[in-house]
């Protein structure tokens, strides 16, 4: 590559980080050309768990593709459910009852918190601290229990349906959710004292791994990566969907663009999600959870449709092309981590290996979603 040719130092070596490496969280491989511990060139190698979901979509009915969406990003599966049902509802013109919308928002935001908690733990694990991971899992376990009681599964949810949700929530769920939020509010200061204020962590994250807003734009990075660069872009506000316009929440942004900024964005997002859930629980109306007019067999009109949601990792988009039959003609899944990872090569150039791993951790990668 050009980087090598232009460098004076010929003594570089290639380090294969992955596909089985503790820091890559799955089967991502990064081919690093290193000069000592400095990274000259980093090239992510993808596709180890590529499953061709898009081709599967072309061979199934619209409804049959639902379980696949939960298997893209195993940490915030409900957001991906949501993105897909939004796209199909838009294409087929299905209206969703208000109660179902509120239930969707509550469960998606719970899922977002659980996703951010896993990221938080795994990120500190990347940096060498083990204990916060298990504290975060302790909290996440409650979310999984809550969601399990509603959806029946713990990780790869398949809860939303075109025109509503699979089944109604029980009153226990609301009380359990509010109790959990109370608990997490009390635990957040602990997390900050244990981790955020820790001098070692500050030294490792502050001014490390710059991803400026312009780089985000060039690579199409969204979500906390973009918000950590100071751009307050959030699909929930930019293209309001579901009942988000009726809820009051802030979009945390930090202008620094370093690892610390992305870290703080996600921790603040946990707090904002808690606010959203509280409001949604208070406003939850009575009524059906499934549109009565929702057709059993979906046949959207010819044309192409797009729907985006704010998943935990950024903007998840679904582009549907319908030819008016019961199966999609083309189904494109735009996953946020894919774009977020694509900037890694440029952003990590010249960094030390541990800092590059901090940068990779702060991008919050989920490999099945990248490989699809």
């Amino acid at each position: 590559m050009s980087v090598l040719a232009s460098s004076d130092c010929k003594e570089t070596f290639v380090l294969n980080l992955g596909p089985q490496h503790p820091a890559t969280h799955g089967v991502l491989r990064v081919k690093l050309t290193m000069d000592g511990e400095y990274i000259r060139h980093a090239e992510p190698v993808l596709g180890y768990i590529h499953r061709m979901h898009e081709k599967m979509g072309e061979n199934r009915t619209w409804a049959q593709f639902m379980p696949n969406t939960g298997r893209l990003d195993y940490l915030s599966a409900l957001s991906y459910n949501h993105g897909y049902v939004l796209a199909v509802e838009r294409a087929a013109g299905i209206a969703v009852p208000e109660r179902a919308e509120y239930i969707r928002v509550i469960t998606v935001e719970l899922n977002r918190i659980s996703s951010h908690l896993v990221w938080f733990g795994a990120f500190i694990l990347d940096l060498g601290g083990f204990t916060p991971l298990l504290y975060a899992f302790d909290d996440r376990e409650i979310i999984l229990d809550l969601l399990q009681a509603v959806t029946g599964s713990r990780l790869t949810y398949c809860y939303f349906r075109f025109g509503g949700v699979y089944n109604d929530i029980e009153p226990d769920f609301i009380t359990g959710t509010l109790a959990f939020i109370k608990r997490l509010r009390e635990r957040m200061p602990m997390y900050h004292n244990l981790v955020t204020k820790n001098i070692i962590l500050i030294k490792r994250l502050k001014d490390i791994g710059f991803v400026p807003a312009e780089m985000c734009r060039k690579y199409g990075a969204t979500g906390p990566v973009l918000r950590g660069a100071g751009v307050g872009y959030d699909v929930r506000r930019a293209e309001p969907y579901s009942v988000y316009p009726e809820l009051d929440f802030d979009i945390p942004t930090y202008p620094e663009g370093d690892c610390m900024a992305r870290y703080m964005v996600r921790l603040d997002e946990i707090e904002q999600s808690m606010r959203i859930i509280e409001q949604a629980c208070a406003k939850l109306p009575d009524g059906p959870v499934m549109a009565e007019k929702a057709p059993k067999i979906i046949k959207p009109a010819k044309g192409d449709y797009y729907a985006a949601v704010e998943a935990a990792r950024g903007s998840f988009g679904v582009r549907l092309v319908s030819d008016g039959t019961t199966t999609p003609y083309r189904l494109k899944l735009r996953s946020p981590s894919y774009s977020n990872l694509s900037l890694f090569g440029e952003a990590s150039r010249g960094m030390l290996l541990p800092d590059a791993l901090a940068l990779m951790g702060s991008l919050d990668l989920v490999i099945p979603e990248i490989d699809r």
Binding site: F13, L15, H21, P22, A23, G36, E37, I124, L125, D126, L127, G128, G129, F130, T131, L134, Y135, D138, L194, V195, N198, I200, L201, K203, R204, L352, L353, P354, D355, L357
Partner: protein
């Protein structure tokens, strides 16, 4: 048979020291896992024996029965030499440690010097292990380990020189004897000798963490970056010996801190001095070391060097000068 004859005494100590080092390695792993478990609100080992107490034994058997895989293209001599090179100096250092006034293998006058001489060898074990494995991760880890050890030996030795200036001796047993008669005679609280003694202790403790490659300075085996660092390619007992050497080093580091600052086998209130006080203090320090590992994230190599050169060395040097001044000026004011 005369039980006090020198060869028998030495033999007894030899067996005792090796047993102490091996048992410590085994049960510190157990302690580490238990502490980690409870810190993380788990139980830790519990299946084998009561409270999982037999777990280290079973682990040991497992390690010994495992095949020692020797990868291709390694340096066959260095690869095999490295683990003993890490373990033997650590075990040798126990020779001069005074567990109590009488329970010391060799009460030599240069005990402190000898321990530091041996402590410098174990860097070689890390370097050769990393280099001999012919593995990129291991080489990076070895390079890190060496620069880290070299950087931290300086503040550590400066602090030790400060201590030697106060104690006037390198004999460890003598240093402990000087701290008799209650907690305020311990060097950590002997503020008449140097008001910054507490800082000296912290510098020494931090350095011994770094010297023993313990978290948060475990850059040499940073598992989320370098898989397993310099012992990536070692399996079975090769890995087991590295492990034992590491834990023996921790015990040595904490023993030295106990002896130099916390009064060794002396009792905090001047009564019943003996080996039990030494062990209590030692294990409190070791517990702190373990708790530190399960609390903090890892530093980076430049963070580590920054800490050494910008914080620890200036403070240690200041301490040295202050102590020298106190020794010379104090008697002039109060003759």
């Amino acid at each position: 048979m005369n039980l006090h004859s020198e060869p028998i005494r030495l033999l007894a100590f030899l067996v005792g020291i090796i047993a102490f080092a091996a048992l410590n390695a085994a049960y510190l792993v157990w302690l580490e896992r238990k502490v980690a478990g409870h810190v993380q609100r788990r139980i830790g080992p519990k299946e084998v024996g009561p409270f999982g107490l037999l777990q280290p034994l079973v682990d040991g058997i497992k390690l010994m029965t495992k095949q020692v895989l020797i990868p291709d293209n390694i340096d066959p001599i260095l690869f095999r030499l490295a683990p003993p090179l890490l373990l033997i100096p650590a075990v040798m250092s126990f020779v001069t440690i005074p567990f109590s006034e009488t329970l010391v293998a060799r009460d030599i006058n240069l005990g402190l010097l000898m321990i530091f001489a041996f402590a410098s060898i174990n860097v070689l074990g890390i370097l050769l292990g990393g280099w001999g494995s012919n593995n990129k991760y291991a080489v990076i880890a070895a390079a890190r380990g060496v620069s880290q050890n070299v950087a931290y030996e300086i503040p550590m030795l400066i602090t030790v020189i400060t201590m030697v200036m106060i104690t006037h001796t390198l004999n460890l047993n003598e240093i402990v004897r000087q701290q008799g008669g209650g907690i305020f005679n311990w060097y950590i609280f002997r503020w008449s000798a140097n008001p910054l003694m507490l800082i000296s202790f912290l510098i020494f403790f931090t350095c011994s963490l770094a010297e023993t490659n313990r978290a948060p300075f475990d850059l040499g085996e940073a598992e989320s970056e370098l898989v397993a660092g310099y012992h990536t390619e070692y399996s079975g007992m090769g890995f087991g010996i590295f492990f034992m050497g590491e834990y023996a080093n921790i015990v040595i580091g904490c023993s030295l801190a106990t002896i130099l600052f916390l009064g060794g086998w002396q009792c905090p209130f001047g009564l019943w001095p003996g080996v039990h006080w030494f062990l209590i203090k030692l294990y409190i320090l070791i517990f702190t070391v373990i708790l530190i590992r399960w609390t903090f994230p890892r530093t980076t190599i430049y963070g580590l060097l920054n800490l050494s050169w910008k914080v620890l060395i200036p403070f240690a040097l200041f301490n040295l000068i202050l102590t020298g001044a106190m020794i010379k000026i104090w008697p002039m004011i109060f003759p």
